[in-house]
Symmetry: C2
Subunit: 230 residues, 2 copies
């Protein structure tokens, strides 16, 4: 049985394995940032990504249920309220519907998932299934794509303001709200993963969970490109 | 296929099937209320029931994960924070540890579950398993033992103050806090169950989930009596 990696080496490996597979490098995102997408592309992305967004409170509730530690649950529970909000008008899901309206989608289009591509559904449901089956450490490790989110979000905000002026800038509130939150959420998650994954085997399982998560995000964009070629 | 019960008939059936199996009638509770328990009995009950209490946030997180409705999740999430608190010093689990100290148990005795009887563990774990497998309506129906909790809690508070004066009255704070909450939680849960269970089959499954929950609570006391005869 091999020795576990040091904390620093384990963190470096998570960053490396996750970072090189992160969907910022996907052709769809490259086209988005270069101003190469049509309104229909943006609509397809917002509508399909909304299904992903609706899975987040569900997977975070499953993560809460895996923990025996009230202090961990207290630290994690804001992720649910961040998305669900205090009313139907605030929170991440409401901000996403606002983004939908800004690209020309009705709330009902998002709520009914009428534009949801079957492969996107499978990938998002695979994320929930991954969390259901995973240990707490692996489940939290899968959320570490947040490590790479602030840069992507910042790039996205700038690109949308420059290249897609028909989208009301105020509708980018979700992205803006996520920049600082993704950074603090990722730091919190990284600490938990490093603390929980103390064997070489569990460290490998955490890396594998993060890799699977990057595949889910990547496949979501593959499906959109297949339906709406660049 | 039979017709579903009317709302009133379904509620009456839940009350009847749950009420006549509720553990207020268990010999251990009867002895508790009549002043017939020793300090060791109270310690065994508090220590074993603590494991049950630690399962509550876990089963409530699983219930959150079953819902596709942010409004439901917003209404349900306080059940987790009620038990976990804002710090390690408040919340239902902290109040239960305070009760433990008042009957002569150390926090470490509760945290390590050193007095946990194997059958109590099985019953409490069966509750979590029931929730994992259940539909949202059945999972919420299993919580409807709360319908009968306010009377039992009120009786318990009076009995402890009268018969067990060596227990500091301030340590009964958990029971006191639960009287109004159990009533409002039960009303909220009942509304959800009635709204979700619209077929005769689902109504029966909800009744069965509530019956199973009463069996879990009853068995917990059976195990304590077997280990500490009345």
């Amino acid at each position: 049985m091999s020795e576990p990696l040091s904390k620093e080496a384990f963190v470096a490996r998570l960053r490396e394995e996750g970072g090189r597979r992160y969907h910022d490098a996907h052709p769809f995102h490259r086209a988005m940032h270069a101003g190469g997408l049509s309104r229909v592309h943006l609509q397809a992305w917002v509508a399909n990504r909304y299904y992903y967004q609706t899975r987040i409170p569900i997977k975070d509730a499953l993560i809460l249920a895996k923990s025996e530690n009230p202090a961990f649950r207290r630290a994690w529970i804001h992720r649910l309220t961040d998305h669900d909000g205090k009313t139907d008008e605030d929170g991440g899901l409401a901000l996403w519907r606002r983004l939908g309206r800004a690209v020309g989608l009705r709330d009902a289009d998002l709520a009914s998932h009428r534009y949801l591509l079957r492969g996107v559904r499978f990938a998002c449901d695979a994320y929930v299934s991954l969390i259901e089956r995973a240990s707490l450490a692996e489940a939290v490790a899968s959320s570490l794509t947040e490590l790479f989110a602030p840069d992507l979000l910042t790039q996205r905000i700038q690109a949308w303001q420059r290249h897609y002026p028909f989208v009301d800038g105020a509708a980018l509130a979700y992205f803006k709200s996520r920049v600082p939150r993704a950074a603090s959420d990722a730091a919190e998650a990284l600490e938990l993963v490093v603390g929980e994954a103390r064997s070489a085997e569990m460290q490998e399982r955490c890396v594998a969970a993060l890799v699977r998560k990057t595949e889910i995000l990547w496949h979501l964009l593959d499906c959109i490109v297949a339906a709406h070629p660049l």
